[in-house]
Amino acid sequence: MTKKNNGTTVNGMTLDPTLAGRLKGPKSGVPKRWVAVLVIVAFIAAFLVAWIVPKSQAEQPTRQDSVTIGLKLAPTNLDIRGTAGSALDQLLIGNVYEGLVARDESNGVKPALAKSWTVSDDGLTYTFSLNRDATFSNGDKLTAADAVWSIQTLVDNQYHDYDQLRNFKSVSAPDDYTVVIALSEPYPDLLWALTGRAGLVFDSKVESNAATATDMKTSALGSGPYAVASFNENDSVVLKANPDYWGESKAQTATVVVRYFTDDNAAVNALSSGDVQVLAPISSSLATTFENNPAYIVQAGDGTDKYVLGMNNAADKATGDIRVRQAIRYAIDHEQLIASRGGTDKLLGGPIPSLDPGYEDLTGLYPYDLDKAKELLEEAGYDENNPLKLTLTYANTYGTEIGDQLRSQLKKANIDLTVNVVEFSTWLQQVYTDKDYDLSIVDHNESHDFSNYANPDYYFNYTGDHAADVQQLTAQALSSASESDSETLLARAARLVSEDAVCDWLFNYRVTTAMAAGVSGFPVNMNQTVMPLYDVVYVA
């Protein structure tokens, strides 16, 4: 209170300016009714405007020049050569980058940059003839030299997925439009491997020179129907059609925006408010809100996602005992598990899903049978008074429900499950790298990945009864010159793995896609790994 009171008093009235000011003012005690009326009128007006405006916009449906697609797993950068994660394959392969060959909707091989190919009888030489008019989005011609440079640097610098090219010996270009890949031993999966990152062709004229090379983490230069116009990490990517695209799969929509939603509610709100036209994946429970609405299409597609209950087969673990692992497989009611998730997923009895070579229906090997489970556990030395105590460690991306459900199912077979949900990177360290775990859940979404079971260092620690046989069969399968022989061998190995109860295969996850009714051309099968967007059209 530093101000001095210098007011003086005359006839009982104060001359202090602050107090006098207050005295002069008229009393404002009467409530201003017109303010309240104004507020109410404004509210009603807002209501009416909101009600009427959308209805007046009923026009003839037209093809939109922009489609927005909502996805879940975001890539952290665009570097498809240096960074792991199927989010990059999903976004870039077939849209921005193209390979020698591509994958079709049933996981087979189809032509892409190479219009045709031949395989020598001994299975050691693959000769591809390239399309002659292929160009990159910057106008550069795409020739065999680009393919050779791309594959050679992949192998030399050990870029991501270089190990998919098993038995690789050399790559060469006899002329501008012929590429020859030579193998040291046959590898029946080579063509399929080339549909992924290993077969992508980059612009060698730009990328081989350090001065002109693009920053692959933030931009992407390819030969595909789309080019990346902008990229906000973890949020969105804008793809613009390449007007001079060389091939037949020209982009049908000028702009495709891909947005990533970590929150499922936000994703659903985005679809219902029309901010996105496609949502993949959407959980079955959330999809029900759209299923009975004619303004939307909901479809489930096949895929190679295997939800695996990994078990630590190491001898010093309780799960090292085959009887325990078998008991766990008998104790799990897979049908109930699938039903509780909405019923779209498929039963899976072994390591190979129906879209992969070597598939065989193995669901009959370990049917749900609690008595048998208890019996096996008793043999192994566990019963009601001495229950088996196990810990289930898995990444938080899969939610807590699945772990809770397994706990309650296994409880009935006298197994006490402690569920430990951790961050993905913690899981990667503890379970995957250090192999310090009993049980774990992982969505192994890779296709053609059976060889992991033939790797004794893989996190399952599978060195059990038939491990040597499995290794031998797999090695034979992967170096067989005939694809059908290879499939038979893989099927035999897969049966052994399932019989040994190396893991339990909870289900074959099927991805559910929800779309606005005017959308067509969006791939429904396997769209979490291969998502060609050139055909996507939205009419509204």
Partner: protein, 319 residues
């Protein structure tokens, strides 16, 4: 002046301590950015090569010192995963979070102070009780729930009155200011209502505090003011220092506190970004972001202290 300098010194010391804590804490966590980058099928050799490339194989002290050197010269480094400078990443996210907080805080202040005053000054007893109940209930509502309710009420597509966008932020950010602003209205309302409820309680108790402790209000009334007038003009002025501390700290807390709201409305802000970066063990990014947050927190605390002094000269005399 001496006070300000003293506080500045403390701020620098605190920042140094915090930088060590941050650096150590995220290295204690299990998990490895190289393993995340290389993916599940990577060979150990590839992971080791990546670690070397990222400088993760060097001794911790060397890593710390080189990071600190960068920070002191204003270079927070580049993210291991995105390859973009940390400062640019944080700036991009702050362009969403800060406007959201400011908008939310504005709503909270308008709601909180006016209702807080009303809760003390309303003539009827039941109005006061009702307002008090609103303050308690409003403070207990989880942000997620409030947000969902607002979406059901006002969100376009789902809402009863479908007027406002419920998620996302324009691709080009503030280049389209109208759209950017409408995207922030619902999230800001969500934040504003919840924070407003707590400011309402603080306002109420601060006002009552001024009235019961000391004779200021009685004196003002003796000078001819009504109780209401005395409370609003004199009482609020005297309660301001208390409110400034509360608002200052609320502001700092909101930066990470609005994370739930950012997630719900799919806004690419600081909170969601930080969680993603920690999940992926992007060490350089997390270090930079946490240090900036800590610095911000400390600066706000410092500003509140200084503001206190200016607003309440009695403190200076007491010292």
């Amino acid at each position: 002046m001496k006070f300000t300098l003293q506080r500045l010194g403390l701020l620098v010391v605190a920042l140094a301590v915090v930088s060590v804590l941050i650096f150590a804490a995220i290295r204690v966590l299990p998990g490895d950015v190289a393993a995340v980058m290389a993916g599940m099928n990577a060979s150990p050799a590839r992971i080791a090569a990546l670690r070397a490339e990222l400088g993760l194989d060097e001794p911790l002290v060397v890593q710390y010192l080189s990071w600190l050197k960068g920070v002191v010269t204003g270079d927070f480094g580049t993210s291991m995963l995105t390859g973009q400078p940390i400062a640019a990443i944080v700036a991009g996210r702050a362009a969403v979070t800060f406007p959201l907080i400011l908008l939310g805080l504005a709503i909270a202040l308008v709601l909180g102070i006016s209702l807080g005053c009303a809760a003390v000054l309303a003539r009827r007893c039941w109005v006061r009780s009702l307002l008090q109940a609103i303050a308690v209930v409003g403070g207990a509502v989880p942000a997620l729930w409030a947000g969902l309710l607002l979406i059901l009420l006002l969100g376009s597509g789902t809402g009863v009155l479908s007027v406002l966008p419920t998620q996302g932020f324009p691709q080009d950010g503030w280049a389209s200011p109208g759209r950017a602003l409408t995207c922030l209205v619902l999230p800001a309302l969500t934040v504003g209502i919840i924070v407003g409820a707590s400011i309402m309680r603080y306002t109420r108790s601060a006002l009552l505090d001024v009235e019961t402790n000391g004779d200021v209000i009685a004196l003002a009334m003796a000078c001819g003011m009504t109780r209401r007038r005395a409370m609003v003009t004199v009482g609020l002025r005297l309660a301001t220092p208390q409110l400034v501390s509360v608002v200052g700290l609320t502001f700092a807390e909101m930066i990470t506190g609005v994370m739930v709201v950012e997630n719900l409305f799919a806004l690419p802000g600081i909170g969601t970004g930080l969680v993603t970066d920690i999940g992926q063990r992007d060490l350089i990014a997390v270090q930079g972001e946490l240090l900036m947050l800590a610095a911000f927190f400390l600066v706000v605390g410092f500003a509140v202290d200084v503001a206190h002094r200016t607003l309440d000269p009695r403190l200076e005399r007491a010292a």
